[in-house]
Point group: C2
Chain length 356, copies 2
């Protein structure tokens, strides 16, 4: 068994993979593959409806919030959000906490004014900015709720007098949070929702229709809402994988049940790192992510040796992002406590045998 700590695409529950495999040959007893079936058939339409309803239920969304499964990944949302929300002479404020907010800034600059309200760039994004005040004058305030690369996470929703928008790609559905406090949330599916190729958008419909530009229809959230998230041929299989993963989470007990497990996994791993003489975490302690644990070797020579050792021990995907270096263990919902304990034992075993 391989212990997959990849940052995304990432580990999926075994039962989800088994269901997927069945659907590749025979989707819901239709005799057809999920890959061949028409997306406008009731069999698939009810899958989309169920997936949207599960998101609504798991996130406890109010009636103003609409749930969409779109193409394009979160990077497309970096563009689509300002296209829908920001006029050329208006300003959006953003917390700049890493590579993803940088991309969001760049895309938004094509549509309106972008004000970097706060930033943690001065320390390689290893913390979440604190001393800032969101002005009333802006159109919206954008945060990246969890920074996959740096292993930082917003543990409190910032106060904002203007609509809050969040890229929640790497921590959605992992913790109890008032999702209705956000007017727009988006997330690539390949971490806690399902697989690469689908993108979840949750948007307060009251926010829409307030820009003067002629929004290209395929990018207009209102068109997608009207079409029940089937404006064009959807990424059928990726949505089906989201459905299976959402069902798995519901069966597990929902966010309420997964949150304590996520906290336990992260606490165990951070504890092991903090008690290690060979490794240290890179993120500021108060801002550490429960989803992505970034750490480096205190002795740079140990880096390659540990990667090799971990590989021999069936650990996959722990090489850190080149911007931080070292290691990153992603502990998304589907990663088991057993896998985390295995990683900790491997860290300890390596350390005890290491004589650098």
């Amino acid at each position: 068994m391989i212990h997959n700590f990849n940052a995304g695409p990432s580990h999926l529950p075994a039962e989800v993979l088994e269901e997927a495999q069945k659907a590749i040959i025979n989707f819901k007893g239709s005799g057809l593959s999920i890959l061949e079936i028409g997306h406008r058939t009731p069999l698939f339409e009810e899958s989309v409806a169920e997936a949207r309803a599960l998101v609504r239920e798991l996130m406890q969304l109010d009636d103003d919030h609409e749930v969409l499964f779109l193409h394009g990944g979160a990077t497309t949302q970096f563009m689509q959000v300002p296209m829908n929300l920001l006029d050329a002479d208006e300003t959006m404020h953003i917390a700049h906490t890493g590579v993803w907010s940088k991309k969001a800034i760049r895309e938004a600059s094509c549509f309106g004014k972008v004000n970097i309200l706060c930033s943690s760039e001065n320390n390689n994004f290893n913390y979440i900015p604190e001393d800032f005040c969101v002005p009333e004058s802006g159109k919206y305030f954008h945060i990246t709720s969890n920074n996959t690369i740096y292993g930082t996470q917003w543990h409190r929703i910032p106060e904002s007098p203007i609509p809050l928008v969040a890229d929640m790609s790497s921590d959605i559905l992992s913790r109890r949070i008032d999702f209705n406090a956000f007017e727009l949330i988006y997330a690539g599916a390949q971490k806690n929702i399902g697989v690469a190729g689908a993108t979840l958008v949750v948007v307060n419909k009251k926010l829409l229709g307030n820009v003067t530009r002629d929004i290209p229809p395929i990018m207009d959230y209102r068109e997608h809402i009207k079409a029940n998230s089937m404006l064009n041929t959807p990424p059928v299989f990726a949505i089906y994988m989201s459905l299976l993963t959402l069902r798995w989470l519901k069966k597990f007990g929902g966010i309420e049940a997964i949150e304590p497990l996520n906290k336990e996994k992260a606490a165990l791993l951070y504890d092991a790192i903090d008690n290690s003489s060979l490794f240290r975490g890179t993120a500021k302690k108060e801002d550490r992510s429960t989803m992505n644990v970034s750490f480096v070797a205190t002795n740079s020579g140990a880096e390659k040796a540990f990667l090799d050792f971990a590989k021999q021990k069936d650990i996959y995907g722990i090489k850190g992002h080149r911007l931080v270096g070292g290691f990153r263990a992603s502990l998304y919902n589907a990663v088991s406590l057993e896998s985390v304990k295995h990683l900790i034992s491997v860290i300890k075993e390596f350390e005890s045998g290491y004589n650098g």
Copy 2:
């Protein structure tokens, strides 16, 4: 066995589905699912490279043409193409041959001027316009090479003094054609390329960089080319399915081998319809598509009866689009001659027993 004539998503070769099923559990012997593996790992990067190379080989593209696998479906291309190619004060010309060109017109109108150079709207799009001349003044000329809903197809590439752009979603890879005569080709993958969720774009790189707007990077073809078609997390599984389907086509003998089979399938079915007293084709004979055969019952009472009868005979996906009514049999590359012969025998059987 179900005979799948759906317009898209559509039938896939059995060996492609078998390979897909294996990869869901163990991708290339990695011990990881294709759904869980990191997209920046060599194992997946080589799949993307192979898929792009196969497109180049099968379409016999010259070195100026770049091959990209993107998110978003052809509908996103209706927007992305003018965003990249058309300045606000420039004009693109378009042949208006159905619902898809209508959407292409609407999306392009957000970016520049659109001139409907010719149209077959006066007869419910049942033919391909002939008497038109593409002016030299336009930025590009756009056609829909095959009109899925109406069953019409361009059998000759129109002469154009300006760059030719084609939506080839429903007939790409089905016939020998000089693909290099087009400066830009796009196609949703869910017909002849693979499954819903990936979009093929073939673009002459010399065409790019000729607009003044600040193109959002995620929509800029040049950025995707620079990033080897991996600008953001790609639709991993949908691209892998494209790879498997492209391999299957190559093994079959490529476009050269599939074209005569496609012609034979279409000829047999059109012949059966033309010789029927109960059914008639809807498209003008010279413009009939080899990919989508649209036909109606001459006796409207026979419509539901035939759909029911066909269903009993394990025929799936032949209900016509509501804009044309009646029936549509899609005969994409993977649809076997055996399935077409089965459909013909079902038509004949129904007709002989029908006493409306």
